[in-house]
Subunit: 364 residues, 4 copies
């Protein structure tokens, strides 16, 4: 599909909206009929991404209340498109008049200008992180669908700058989404120090998907890890993706990196390690799917920066307004949502893999 | 599209074939008319991937001669599908009878078995690295197309195990595709030591794409780097992908990671650094596009390994036959081909970005 | 794409909404940047489809005011998704309680029930003709885009029941959209007679697309007339499609049906007849594109009908409420909209047909 | 997908090849694993389309032997792409040198010239009816798949010129594929009279699909009849398509055209008539699916015709060589194949319509 705002082949999501337009939202086509669904299911996901809730998040005040416009009848999905609308309530457009003809470094202002010759410069328009709210709404529907199959994805902060977690005790208990309390305290200091200078931090998000049975995903071009990479790299600030041992695998040897299979002689087969990250040859192998992604430091900083205007005149720019000194914590649910979309999509074509499964359905 | 073997929206490639079947090949739909093309254009690319050419590559003897069956008339593409056939000449199927009901660790044997309940086990069938020969044939057509626009991609070995290049003097001059001669010598020793034990090595491939003007790629889900990640992660042994500073960016700060724009006041705009890797907000920014991917150690090793058969009985397996102790050098052209496919595809929708460009064409 | 509610490859439209839900609407992805667009452009199209405006149309009162939520900045498209919302104002749900578990003959009640096991029965839910309002909103955007290229589509009523037009004098001047005044008068009588019995009428719509230069459309599966057939047959009540001489061509001979080419020796080539309907081999030939489609009689009639409930118990049904005795006049703009969507989509890939055209753009 | 030669979302077929190139063929991606398949299954279908077998067909001698190159292992599909190759054995290229720069009326020569500026003029190149041999090969695989579900399509000649069948006694027993012997005799005379003058005939093909259970197909844009129309209209000479009563429905009234439902009170529901042609609201209703398409007279005639060369100079053209005076009989299997492709595709997404069906599969 053209334009770039449509994702998924079976569970197809189309998003729309700019940061400071009237609304953002999404349309999901292909969600099976018979799933219990209401706005209540979406709100916990929206809240995890919502600004204004932590010391480390922008104070922009958006209620981010999703409204389901279609596709649900008396609390159950009907198989028809599910449209979800999220109105933009806080549109301080005046904040952005100074960037109408100047390119913010690290942002997409320049590239949108070159591509389209016109752009909604208010808050980054379509390239704003706000767009991800629509992804999270769609991801919440996918998560609800996956829960029917016993599948769940969970993303958390693995590192902020150089501070890496070494335990997994405290997931979501703190406002950095770091499951290691000591790391959380150190990371908080790290961020505060950068913020004081008007600077910002990056980090790494890890996501674990549990409950995926073997055989999910396609071979060749649409390998399940390739689709996860596509999905996660499509999040604005993500600069890297790895599955299982990832880049570390390049340092290993075949004998150490191969996961031995184990079995009980009754058809139950497992792996005694999980260097693969749950995917072999693009298809799930029954182990947890584990991937990580690198998030760059928030490009919006309050320090003065060198840039140009649209004519190429050199300019200094100081970005005003409210900005997250780190977006990693709020981005976790976006990463998780993209994973949910990929897995849900793959589940919906799984019944057609084998002739026998299809004939079994229609024999009923 | 279903099945996983179709790639690309505008320059659409469909591949087929198993390692030890009659032939492999591809069909390209959407290549513009008017491109000079012959088998001669493909052979240099095929040769870079072809086995049997180096101390570090399997001795399997395949001529890998591509035959263009359609879409080219009197040496020029006609706009209709270009089918390319590569016959399998060396099919020692007997080599593989011992793995008919046993799963090789690190391979897709088990996952194909779970997905389809049937698989062509000879040489890994569809999951064999041999499938990438068809990608390289298609990539060579894309490369020829891109050369019309002054665009070229170049992939080389950045590291083998812990040995990383520190210079770029000698690209393709050696059989590891390592542009740094000292690193090449050290990496050769590293591989030989592993091979002697019947083990294998991994590494990292880097790819640089030059000549891409600003404005290529789509926003939101189909960001150019997301498509590159999809394309490159779809190569069998790849476990990680990063663009620009990649995972290192997570350690940086906004002020250090943002690339300042510079200009001459006459509309010429550049960046004074390239931490972004040539893409901002999913759209090319005019700098070189630079990405890296991690390749795991060759899973086929001659050491004995623990595994099971299809019934879950535990078994020891020793994989016989000829195997690359490292596939990184031969994989470089595959990575480059996937990059070529992504960029070619993006170029073909670029003319429709702006109304003015389209009307200009039709006014002619 | 799954689900059936996404249309188009380059100018991609996703529609949503049920007859008696909160709203219907569409999201357009892939519209080029730089097109002047506002709600004012949509309203004349919406008005042509809107109920309550004629003796022969349902009195359902819907203002059908489209609201553009995104993708337009300061009156110009930005290249990002254009979301259009149309709220449902007149939701007399109580009218439909009697059909909750009974299948209306000629409607999709039964087939939705079989497919999904759940359906929004109010007014036909997703299968209601109301869904076409979203198509018309999208079609209006496509029409505006096409006007930039000098292309326009025009659909009108060719026949109502047995009454066929024989002149083209009065397009849109009457409330049957019949360009022949005598035919209009006869058709009005025909409809009134049926309506009096509680019955309904069908007809044929003809559409002429002017200004399409030769070379538009693809060969083989995505022939331009195949896409038009797909688009038009996707309108609920349409049962047949023909291009050019259509079914009449089956009665002709090759010598009579072939259109001779004529020329001036300076590269200007025309056809001296247009039996082809403007498309040869799936590609536009420069003549007007002319097609027709058959519209079945409105299935909602007030006569008593035989049917069953969801358990298969036989029932008599009398459909209450307000219904068009003929939908042909209001369907004209829907047919025209679908044609606009197809032609706009085809235009956007046209610049990539020939290498020379693409290089010309990027050379600028 | 671009280019026009890829069809289907779940059962995806990509065809390639020109009339006088080295070979034509297809690649099918998405065929489920576990289907028994060999070349023997394809040959009866290929033979029905093959030239040289009847008084009314071209004498071009092609063995049309399909070779399966991949996707089948030990006689069973593996779920990976099925490539089928058909070599061109009879390439009398010299026959076509006289049309290198002249446009044959009724053919796609001119439109290909305008679209691509280059074309393989030999035998029409890609626009030749020979391309349909690849469709038939793919259709035969789809037909084999559908037979697993008890579904079968059957196409036959309904009319040749004005001669329409009135009985269904003799399907395929004669070389016009006309099931009515009297009509067959009259039609033979009709064709011979035209052929004697160097002229050609058209006709209508009817196709009946039996065994489709209710609930197949999608709502809105991808209605099952819209996809059938797309598929069938994509066959070169087809100028019209209609489902059920088709254009006749425009003359009917709602009370006559609506099919009453009947039932036994135990959940078994049928229709007492089938004006709908087996599809309501785009979704199968359990009755036979019946459609017809109009085939224009063969454009290749041996009479002298007016045309121009590529520069617009007016020319007389006499098309030499061997041509079918009517292609309707041989086109029947092409129509049937396209129907098989559409139904097979729809079957593969059917299991994902309802949450319950999917969970049932994965519970096993």
């Amino acid at each position: 599909m053209a334009g770039g705002s449509v994702f998924g082949r079976n569970f197809t999501v189309s998003t729309f909206g700019e940061s400071h337009g009237k609304a953002i939202g999404c349309v999901i086509d292909g969600c099976p009929a018979g799933l219990k669904l209401s706005e209540e299911d979406l709100i916990p996901y929206m809240d995890r991404r919502r600004p204004g809730q932590s010391e480390f998040a922008t104070a922009r005040s958006e209620s981010d209340t999703p409204e389901i416009l279609s596709g649900v009848f008396e609390g159950t999905t009907t198989g028809t498109p599910i449209a979800i609308l999220i109105k933009n309530s806080d549109q301080h457009s005046s904040d952005y008049s100074n960037i109408a003809d100047v390119f913010r470094p690290g942002h997409a202002d320049y590239t949108y200008h070159e591509k389209y010759s016109i752009r909604d410069y208010r808050g980054g328009g379509r390239s704003s992180g706000r767009e991800t709210a629509a992804r999270v709404a769609a991801g919440a529907v996918a998560a609800k669908l996956l829960s029917s199959f016993g599948i769940s994805a969970k993303a958390y902060t693995r590192s902020i700058g150089p501070v890496i977690i070494s335990s997994y005790d405290e997931a979501e208990a703190n406002d950095l989404n770091m499951p290691d309390h000591d790391a959380y305290l150190k990371a908080s200091e790290y961020i505060r120090a950068l913020r004081e200078k008007g600077d910002s931090a990056g980090g790494v998000i890890e996501c674990v998907i549990k409950g995926v049975t073997p055989g999910l995903g396609d071979p060749v071009f649409d390998k399940l890890d390739a689709l996860l990479a596509h999905a996660v790299m499509s999040i604005g600030a993500v600069k890297g993706f790895e599955i299982g041992d990832g880049f570390e695998a390049s340092l290993s040897s075949g004998s150490a990196n191969n996961d031995p299979f184990t079995g009980d002689g009754n058809g139950n087969i497992n792996k005694s390690s999980n260097h693969s990250g749950g995917i072999l040859g693009g298809i799930s192998d029954g182990s947890d799917i584990i991937f990580r992604c690198a998030v760059k430091p928030t490009p919006s900083i309050s320090m003065s920066q060198k840039t140009t205007d649209t004519k190429g005149n050199e300019r200094d720019i100081i970005i005003q307004g409210r900005h997250d000194p780190v977006i990693v914590p709020r981005a976790c649910v976006v990463v998780e949502s993209m994973a949910d979309l990929v897995i849900a999509d793959a589940m919906l074509s799984r019944p057609a893999d084998r002739l026998k499964d299809i004939t079994d359905i229609f024999r009923k």
